[in-house]
Structures are given as C-alpha cells and as structure tokens.
C-alpha cells in the first residue's frame, strides 16, 4: 500500500460544498448525493468536491478544524503531550493537502494552515521515529501506539516491519555468547 492509495481512501471523506448549479440527487453505490441547489450547502465526498471545484462549480466550505487557531491549539497539545494526541480527522494530512492543492482560495490564511499542518506532521513523525528507536533499542516484543493516522502508519510501515524482520534474522543467526 502506498501513499496514493491512502489518499484515495481519504477522498471518500465527506466535505461540505456550496454549489453554484442546480442538479437532482444522483444515486451512487456509496450512497445518494445531492440534490444540489445553488448556494445551499451540501455534503459530498472529497473527490467529487475536488472535481466540482476544478470546474468552478462550487465553493468548498472549509472544515471547522482547518483554521489557524484550531491547528495551533492542536500543535500545542501535541507538543506538550508525551503520547500522540487525537487528530481532528483521521485523514487530516491528506484532506488539507488535497484542499490546499485544489482550492487554496477557499481556505482562510492558507499559507499559515499549510505550515501548521506540516509542523504537526513533522512533530508527530519525529515522535514516531523516536519511539520506534526506543522500541528497537529496548528490544521489547510489542508496543502499543494510539491515535496514529493511516498515513503516518503507512510512512513507517515498510521500514519498521522490514527492520524488525532483519533484526530477528540477525538475532537468530548470531550465537549467544554470554551464556
């Protein structure tokens, strides 16, 4: 599984748009979407929102957690906490990324949001790396980490699992000298 796939999954998240066209409800396997009334907020999957936005068919209503104040608060919590804190959305990174790419105009203070999201991401990845380091050094057999998002897990998954496997192999082949 690579990051594109994670993003693909994230695009199924619902997001509010304000359409500037009129259209009937359409029925998809995933569920019914619409009806669309001009200026009336409607919930659609992110992929559809992006599609409409690119065709100038709607304005994207920014989710409430994509605001500088809220993100600053989240970052401060993350900084002060030893453990991982709960993110406002399980796909926070993917959603902001997609939105910042397709509709930066619809996000107030988009630049600051971008740096904040990046900071939070870096903070969490750094935390994850250090805890991994600790985990491997301590030679524990298992560890439990809460509140990780899919994308975060995915970034370390390949490395971590392979490393552990290699370590395991090495351990089996190196004779125990001490005892």
């Amino acid at each position: 599984m690579d990051n594109e796939e994670v993003e693909f999954i994230a695009e199924n998240e619902l997001i509010t748009i304000i359409p500037n066209f009129q259209y009937k409800t359409f029925y998809l396997i995933g569920g019914d979407i619409g009806p669309f009334e001009p200026s009336v907020p409607t919930q659609v999957p992110l992929w559809l929102a992006v599609h409409f936005r690119q065709r100038q068919k709607c304005r994207i209503e920014c989710p409430s957690w994509i605001s500088v104040e809220k993100l600053e608060e989240i970052m401060n919590n993350e900084k002060s906490s030893e453990l991982f804190t709960q993110m406002p959305n399980a796909h926070y990174m993917e959603i902001t990324n997609v939105l910042l790419n397709c509709a930066p105009q619809d996000i107030p203070r988009a630049d600051e949001v971008k740096t904040l999201i990046k900071d939070i991401w870096d903070l969490r990845i750094a935390k994850l790396r250090s805890s991994m380091n600790e985990f491997i050094k301590s030679e524990s057999l298992h560890a439990k980490v809460n509140n990780l998002t899919l994308l975060e897990i995915n970034t370390v998954r390949n490395l971590l699992t392979k490393t552990l496997k290699e370590l395991h192999n090495l351990k089996q082949h190196v004779p125990v000298t001490d005892e």
């Binding site: 500037n20 066209f21 001009p38 200026s39 907020p41």
Partner: protein, 1030 residues
C-alpha cells in the same frame, strides 16, 4: 486657566464625579483611580481588569465596565467588588444611573442597551440601534432615557412602557466602532428635565421634552478656521443649568448661555488628542482625552457663578441669570427670544404644540411658507444684517428647493457677501444639517401631519421603518442589499469607491455584474428576469442642485433603475425618476413585474420593461415589500398601531387579500417574502416564522411554521432569514453569532433549517408522527400552489409530480402509523378521528388493519365512514364530469372557431413573415426577427394544444379506483420506500394471519364481519362499489 496631567495609559479614558469633591477616572490600564482633587498626588487605585471602558458613581458604589464585557459594582469606601450587574457580548461603552438610584442603564458595542433594576438586578434589553451605542443618559425626571449610537441616531426610550418614543437621525457621521466615532454623542438633559441638548454636527440642538421637537439650536463656529470640519462631541449643562458646554472632536470647548445663546467662553485644548469624556462640577470642568490624559479647565465666564458681577459683554443675560431660573421661565424666554428672530407669521407659544406642528406641516406640503420665511429673513437681514450673525438665527431658510426661490437666494447671497463672507458658509452648512435632520421627520409627517398630538406620539412609538428583506443596515460600509434564492447584491461604501456587486447563486445563469454606485442606490432586489436598484433620494442633493454647479450630475429625486437579464433588444437597463418629494421606501422585483413603495404610500407597479402599470394607495406607511410572479405582498403600519398586510394579484386571477400580520407580541418584522414556490411567509423578531398556506373553510389563514429562536443555544444569536423552499423542505438562513446581521466578509454560509411546527409535547412518538403528517401536508399544499401559480416552471413537471407524490405518501404513511398507534393503545375513538382525515385509500387500509386486529366496532364505523366519503367523492366527480362535458362541448365549438381564426392568423403571419423575410434578407438581424415571429406562432399552437389536452385529462389525473378493491389500494402504494404503509401493513398482516388462524374457527359471523368481508373482497357491482361502475 487649565492644567493637564497623566491619569491613565494611552487609550479611551472615562471620568465621573463622586462625592465630596472626589472624582473617579478609568482607562485602558484597567484601573479605577479615586482622586481627592485634581492636584491629588496620591490617588487610590482599584484594579478592575485588563481594560476599563466606562465608569459611573452613585451613593457609595462605583460601576465599572471591564474588558470581560461585564459591568461590575465596587464599594467606594472599601474598594471591594460587590458583584457583576450585567454582561454583554462586546464592551460596554456608557453607563448611567437615575437620580433615585433604582435603575441603571448601560449601552454596549453589541448594539444592545440594558436597563437594570438595581434592586433585583433583572434587566430589560433594548435593541434598535444599528451600530455600537455611544452614550446613554437618564432623564432627570426618571421617565425616559436616551441613547446615541455610531449609526448617527439618538433614540428616546420610555421607561414605563419600554418603547422607543422618538428617533433623531444623522446627528453625526456614521462609524463602525465606538472608538473611531467622530462624535462621542454625549447629549445632556437639563436639570429640570424639560430640555435636551443634542450634539449635531456643528450645532447643539435643543429638543423639548415629550414633544421631542427641535426648539432651537446653537451653532458652534471656529473663527480662526471657518472651513474646518468638526463635530460636536460632548454636551454638558452647567450644574446650575444656565450654561451649555459643547466639546468638539477638534478639541474645542465652547460655553454658551442658553438664555441668549451667546458665546461666553471658548477654550482650545492644546494636545492633539480628542477629548472623550467630560464632567462639569461647580466652577471647574474635568475632562479626559483619548491618550489617557486628564485635564481641568476653570472657565472664566464673565458672569461667573462665583462672582455675580455683571460685565459689559453679557449684559443681556446677566440680569436674568442672577435669578435662579425656573424651567418655564426659561422656555418662555426662549420663545420670546425666538419670536423676535422669527418671521412674523409664525407665532409660537410654548403651550400650544400645534403651532410647531402646523409650521412644519406647511413646510412639507409646500414651501410657500419657507419662501415667506426666507424673504422675511432676507428683508430682515437687509435691515439688520448684523443681527443674524449675533443671534445665530435658527430659522434661516431650511430648504431651498423651489426653483422660484433662486432670486431670493441670490439676493440673500449678495447681501451676505457684502456683509460677512463667513456667514454664508455657516448658513449653508447649517442648512445641510437642518435638512438632514429633518428628512426623516418630514417623511413621517407627510402621513401624520393631520393627526392630533396623542395619536402622533402613539404612532411614533410603534412605527416600524421601511426596510428591504434580507438586507443589512445602511450604516455599514459593506452591506448586503439583498440576498434571496436567485442571487445576492452587495454594496461597498469605501471612500472614493462606491460600488455594487450583483452575484448569482447559479453561476450558469448569469455572470456577476459590477456597477459603480453613482446614484447612491440603497435598495435592491433580484429575480430571474431582472435586477432592480433604487436610491432613496435626498433633500440635501436637491439643495445642491439649486445652489451649486454640480447640479446636473446629481439626482435629487428618488431613482429607480432596472437591469434586465434577458432582454429582447440591446437595451438592458432603464431608469425612472420619482416625482419630486416622493421617495422610494422599498422595492421588489419578480419574474413579471417591478414594484416600489414610496413615501406617499403609493405602491407603484411597473412592467419589467418599464411600462407604468397599477398605482395602488396603501392603507398605511409601508414597511416591506415582496413579489412573486404576479403577486405583490406588502406590509405596512396601519393606523391602529398594528401591522397590516395586503397581497395583490396583478393578473386579477384572485382577489386581493388584506389583513393584520400575525406578529407575536411586541415583535417587528424581520423578514417577509415568498417561498420559492410562491407562498407568503413572514418572520418576526421573536423568532416565529408564519406562513399563509392553510385553508380553514376556504379562506387561507396564517399559521406558525417554526419557532427558530427555540433552536438557538444562545440568547444573543439570531437567524437572518434568506428564503424558504418547500420543495426541499427547508428554511434558508444565516446563523449570526452575537449579532443580528451577518458580515459581508468572510462570506457567510447558509444554514438550512427544518420546518418544526410548534406542536405540544414534541418528544412523544404521537407528536412526531403528527408533525411528519402536517409537515408533509404543508409541503404538498405548497407545491400545489406552485403548480397552480406559475406558468413557466423552473422544474420539470415530472419532478414536481414526484415530489408531491412523495409528500403525499409520507403524509399518508404518518397518518397510518398514527392510526395504528391509536389502535395499539386501544384508543378507538382517536383511531376513528384519525381515519376521518384519511383519504379513501388509506381508509381502506385502516379498515383492513382494524378487522385484522379484531377491533370490530371500529371497523364497522370506519366502513360507514368510508361509504360516506366514497359517496361524497362520487358526487364530486359526477359534477366534474358533467362540467367537463359542458366545457368539452363548448371547447370543441370554440376550437373550431379558433382553428378558423388561427388559420387566418397563420396566413397573416406567414404573409408578414414573408414581408419581413424580404425586407431583412440582407441584414444580419434577420434571424432573430424571424425567430421571434416563429415563437409567437408556436406559442399560439401550444395554447391550442394545451387547451384541448387539458380538459379531458382532468378526470384521468385523479384516477378513481374502487376504494374497497384490494387491487386499488396496492396499486396506489407503489412507492419505493420500505416504510410505506403497504409494507408495514404486509408485515402486520403476516403477523396477524399467524395469530388469527388459530382463532378463526371460533369467530362467529357477526353482521359487521359480513359487511366488512363483503366490502373487502367486494366484486365490482356489489354494495357501494357499484357507485363507481355507473
């Protein structure tokens, strides 16, 4: 004779007097300082908060407003916090306490005023201002209080009935924030309570108690720099009531005698920071400026209170000043004073109030008196031109709008030029002020001048001014002029760039229109066909037109502009000017018409392309207007202090409807308009949305649809209604947190609210089902009206049919569930009652259900009911068929005639087509013309087809089925939803068959059972079923 010292850190600073010569100040450092005197080096400080905005003192208690937007009470002696009195959502800007220490009033930046009972700490909230409150002041007689606001208004409120009794407009330039305001708006009440001094631009205006009429005014002038722009900011009476002090935003302090209005003392504050608060105690004036400095002035008034020796400069006043004047004497004096200045034909007396009314009435009706006045003045000025300057005559020409006044004006001008160059400027500015002030009054008085005094005041207190639905206040720099289901219109008033943006929700419909607001439009509306803009017109501009060179470009009259969105030709816009002195109050536009209400109570209707159509005189002063297709819905203040409405159908398909608007108690209209389906709705300030949709005995009645306020979590939140759409079952609104209006930027988002009829016991299952039923009935009705009313639909007929069917099915389903609920709880009478509302199909199911649950008595009764209903329906249909036959006969005859006519017409059209074709073959415009004629051609065909097809389809539209045939019922309920009555019934049936099989044998064939059985399995031609086979 002044000194300045540091009191607080930089920022807004307030000062108030305490007892024993002590006084209090507070500022942005959040401290309250108690000073023993101006020179006190060791003042006591009380820490209140981070910032303090206002302070007041009364009998040993200090009242301070802090940055938490709370009003706190402290003990003066111990400096202890005694508690919080009241709180707002934005900083409190002004506090006042009445003499007897029972009530406190305070105003805040959130536009609200609270009147707090100091014993119980209960408060009453007053809203009416459209901008932050600047100041509040109590009447010394404790009957009224007055508030001023950044929107340039002052409002007088009655403490007894909590009403707004009078509003003064345009006192100072509008501003958005209380800190930025050019004027502090601090007015003063004379200690006897009879006279109120109001700062108004460059004047002090004196109003009389109860009548709230302008008695006289004092002009402030800066001799050094006559052209300087300034505003009177703070007014204060001297403690003995003989002098009036005015402080301007240019740091000038003037002291005038109110007896002869002469300037006694002038002081210029050397620091460049405006004075923001001021108190006058004994012979010293204490003030604070916006930089936190505190100053003291000891005015050297020649006939000072301390030394009564009269000086040569103020001989006139000094004699009278020696006596301790009573208010009556004072006013008599004023009158006599005025009389001497006034033209001779205006005899005023203080006791008769009619006189000033009359005077102004004449002033409005025609300006002859004005002219006389004017001439007199000019004559007088010839004789004693010096006097004008001396006495600041307050009745120098108010308006100069009649053409034949030009001569007079010129003569006057010459004179003035000869005598004093500066006088001219002053008078001009005074005129401006005067007329601006009077504008509102004049409008109101066109309708009210005839009425007696009491009635007049009653009217004033209850009248709601005209407004546009879904618009935000005029005082804002960026505002919504209109927001409806088609688009939104925004007005920007930033200096140098006044513009209007017209945006459409549906981007494919029309591109955004951006226009320069050169005519000062303030009202707008948009429909699918056109945009209408209107300017209120103003007296000031009218004067300018006469006076100045600019005249031609500025329009004095109220102007109406319509921009067509789909025009046949290239002219997309037309303008029309209202008659002189007729001002537009509100406008609306629909797909078929443009309408506006004017100050003359006229409802003027125009065709979209500018044809003048109906002129209707409204029964009252218009408040709000809305249009849909050919209907116009207008609300007005009717004479008996209620709000009336009228619905006019300009296509004469219906009769006009009139009545009283169903507003809840003490409520004002917040929004009024048609739903997208064309049903009238009104939303009042208590949060109730009413619709006129339900029929009770053939007449439509108002009924509440929703109480939106009940869904709000916080008291200060509000919904700002934008529209209602029955087809989507929603109310479109903008949620405004802690305000009544949304801001333009960032663009607010709509909230869609559900209809929630105010039924009792909303949580119970029964009520919820009832709610579903009535809601769906409501939508169904709404849609039906829509189908009836609109010719060219913006929805497919299939969609509408589908929607209506959905609503019908949901309603039927809810009713069925209700019936079953009643049956389950053994309430057969209620079940029967529910059944009476059902239609025949549902009733059949109900009979089935009741027989299966063995509620046999009920089943029997239902059967009888069904028979009755079936008979009624049969009769109806019989009539219909008969009528149709008649009509068919008639129509076939007519069609034959028409066909003949049409064939001749067609040949004519063909001929003309041919001519046109010949004529315009070379030109490029040929296509369009040919198309247009083709359109008319096909139109006539359409009509013909419609008429012929429509009539026979009426019976087939309502397919009639034997209500007792099984197939009939199941055929009707072919809805896709799982919860349809059919499926529920099937489930129930399944269950029931299991249980009933056991007991079946024990059942004795009672007559009822027989009856039901025969009906249920009834073959056509049996029993009542035979009705339908005739």
């Amino acid at each position: 004779m002044h000194t300045v010292r540091y009191a607080h850190c930089e920022g807004y600073t307030d000062v108030c007097l305490a007892e024993n010569g002590k006084f209090l100040t507070t500022g942005e450092d959040g401290d309250v300082r108690i000073w023993n005197g101006f020179d006190d080096l060791d003042s006591t400080s009380i820490r209140v908060g981070d910032k303090c905005y206002a302070i007041a003192y009364k009998s040993g208690k200090i009242y301070v407003a802090d940055e938490m937007n709370e009003l706190k009470r402290y003990d003066f002696e111990t400096n202890e916090l005694l508690g919080v009195i009241t709180s707002f959502t934005l900083p409190i800007t002004s506090i006042a306490i009445n003499k007897s220490n029972t009530h406190l009033v305070c105003g805040s930046s959130d536009f609200e005023i609270h009147l707090v009972d100091l014993n119980t700490l209960k408060f009453t909230s007053f809203s009416g201002h459209d901008a932050p409150i600047l100041s509040v002041t109590f009447d010394p007689l404790e009957k009224y209080f007055v508030s001023t606001s950044c929107d340039g208004t002052a409002k007088f409120w009655s403490m007894s009935n909590l009403n707004n009794c009078k509003t003064l407009n345009n006192l100072h330039p509008k501003s958005n924030d209380f800190i930025d305001s050019k004027s502090r708006g601090k007015l003063a009440w004379h200690k006897d309570g009879g006279l109120i001094a109001v700062p108004c631009e460059k004047d002090i205006h004196f109003y009389e108690r109860e009548t709230w009429l302008l008695k006289f005014k004092i002009n402030l002038k800066n001799d050094g720099n006559p052209s300087e722009e300034f505003n009177a900011s703070i007014i204060s009476f001297s403690p003995d009531g003989k002098y009036v002090l005015a402080c301007t935003n240019t740091q000038m302090v003037y002291v005038h005698s109110i007896i002869n209005k002469s300037l006694l003392y002038k002081y210029s504050y050397t620091k460049k920071s405006p004075i923001c608060s001021l108190v006058w105690e004994k012979n010293e004036i204490l003030f604070c400026d916006i930089k936190g400095n505190m100053g003291q002035i000891k005015p050297t008034i020649k006939d000072d209170i301390s030394d009564n020796s009269s000086s040569s400069e103020t001989k006139k006043s000094s004699k009278k000043n020696d006596e301790n004047l009573e208010m009556d004497d004072l006013l008599n004096l004023l009158d006599s004073d005025e009389k001497s200045n006034d033209s001779t034909d205006l005899k005023k007396s203080r006791d008769s109030l009619k006189e000033p009314n009359k005077k102004r009435k004449r002033l409005n009706d025609d300006d002859e008196d004005e002219e006389n006045n004017h001439k007199n003045v000019s004559n007088k000025s010839k004789n004693s031109s010096k006097k004008i300057n001396d006495d600041d005559d307050d009745d120098i020409p108010l308006t100069l709008d009649d053409e034949d006044e030009n001569d007079d004006f010129e003569s006057l001008e010459k004179l003035k030029e000869k005598t004093y160059n500066s006088v001219k400027n002053e008078i001009m500015t005074m005129d401006d002020n005067m007329s601006e002030n009077n504008e509102e009054k004049i409008d109101e008085e066109i309708e009210l001048s005839e009425k007696k005094k009491e009635e007049l005041f009653k009217e004033f207190s209850n009248i709601q001014p005209a407004f546009q639905s879904s618009s935000t206040p005029l005082a804002l720099l960026e505002r919504f002029m209109c927001w409806n289901s088609i688009g939104l219109i925004t007005q920007f008033c930033t200096e140098g760039d006044e513009s209007i943006d017209i945006e459409f929700h549906n981007a494919s419909f029309h591109h955004t229109i951006h226009i320069k607001n050169q005519f000062g439009y303030t009202m707008a509306d948009v429909s699918k066909e056109a945009v209408v803009l209107a300017s209120p017109g103003s007296k000031i501009e009218e004067e300018l037109e006469v006076n100045s060179v600019l005249s031609s470009s500025l329009s004095s009259q109220s102007k109406l502009t319509v921009i067509l969105l789909n025009s046949l030709d290239t002219t997309k816009e037309w303008n029309i000017d209202m008659l002189k002195k007729e001002y537009i109050k509100c406008v609306c536009v629909s797909r078929n018409l443009v309408a506006c209400c004017t100050s003359r109570k006229f409802l003027r209707v125009f065709g979209l392309a500018g044809t003048q159509k109906e002129i209707i005189v409204l029964p009252g002063v218009p408040i709000c207007l809305s249009a849909y297709d050919n209907c116009i819905f207008v609300a007005y203040n009717s004479s008996n202090c209620t709000t009336g409405y009228s619905i006019y159908y300009t296509d004469s398909a219906h009769e006009a409807e009139h009545g009283i608007l169903p507003l809840s108690e003490n409520a004002k209209i917040e929004w009024l308009g048609f739903s997208d389906e064309g049903n009238p709705y009104v939303y009042d300030s208590n949060g109730y949305l009413h619709s006129k949709l339900w029929s009770v005995s053939k007449t439509k009645v108002w009924s509440p649809v929703s109480n939106l306020r009940s869904t709000l979590s916080h008291k200060t939140d509000n919904y700002w209604i934008v529209g209602v759409a029955e087809r989507n079952q929603m109310i479109k609104a903008v949620l405004c947190r802690a305000s009544r209006y949304p801001q333009v930027l960032p663009r607010p988002t709509l909230t869609t609210l559900q209809f929630a009829l105010p039924l009792i016991d909303a949580d119970s299952e029964k009520t919820q089902l009832e709610m579903t039923f009535w809601k769906n009935q409501h939508f169904k009705n709404g849609m039906k009206n829509y189908i009836c009313s609109s010719g060219n639909l913006d929805m497919d007929q299939d969609d509408i049919d589908e929607k209506v069917e959905n609503f019908e099915n949901s309603a039927r389903e809810a009713l069925m569930k209700l019936f079953m609920l009643a049956c389950k709880s053994n309430k057969e009478q209620r079940a029967y009652e529910i059944a009476t509302i059902m239609d025949l199909d549902a009733l059949q199911l109900a009979i089935k259900y009741s027989t299966k649950t063995r509620a046999l008595v009920l089943a029997q009764n239902l059967n009888i009911l069904a028979e009755k209903k079936a008979e009624i329906e049969y009769q109806k249909e019989k009539q219909l068929i008969e009528e149709n036959e008649k009509r068919n006969n008639y129509l076939t005859e007519r069609n034959e005639n028409q066909e003949n006519n049409l064939s001749t017409m067609r040949s004519q059209i063909d001929e003309t087509n041919g001519i046109i074709f010949e004529k315009v073959t070379q030109s490029t415009t040929q296509k369009t013309l040919n198309n247009s004629t083709k359109i008319t051609d096909s139109d006539s065909q359409d009509i013909e087809i419609e008429e012929t097809t429509r009539t026979p389809t009426i019976p087939s539209n309502t397919p009639r089925l034997n209500p007792f045939a099984k197939t009939g019922a199941s055929a009707r309920f072919n809805t896709p939803s799982n919860d349809s009555p059919k499926s529920i019934l099937n489930q129930i049936e399944e269950k029931l068959t299991k249980s009933s099989n056991k007991e079946k044998d024990t059942w004795k064939p009672t007559p009822t059972r027989k009856l039901t059985k025969s009906k249920l399995s009834g073959t056509p031609g049996n029993g009542i079923g035979s009705f339908f086979n005739k």
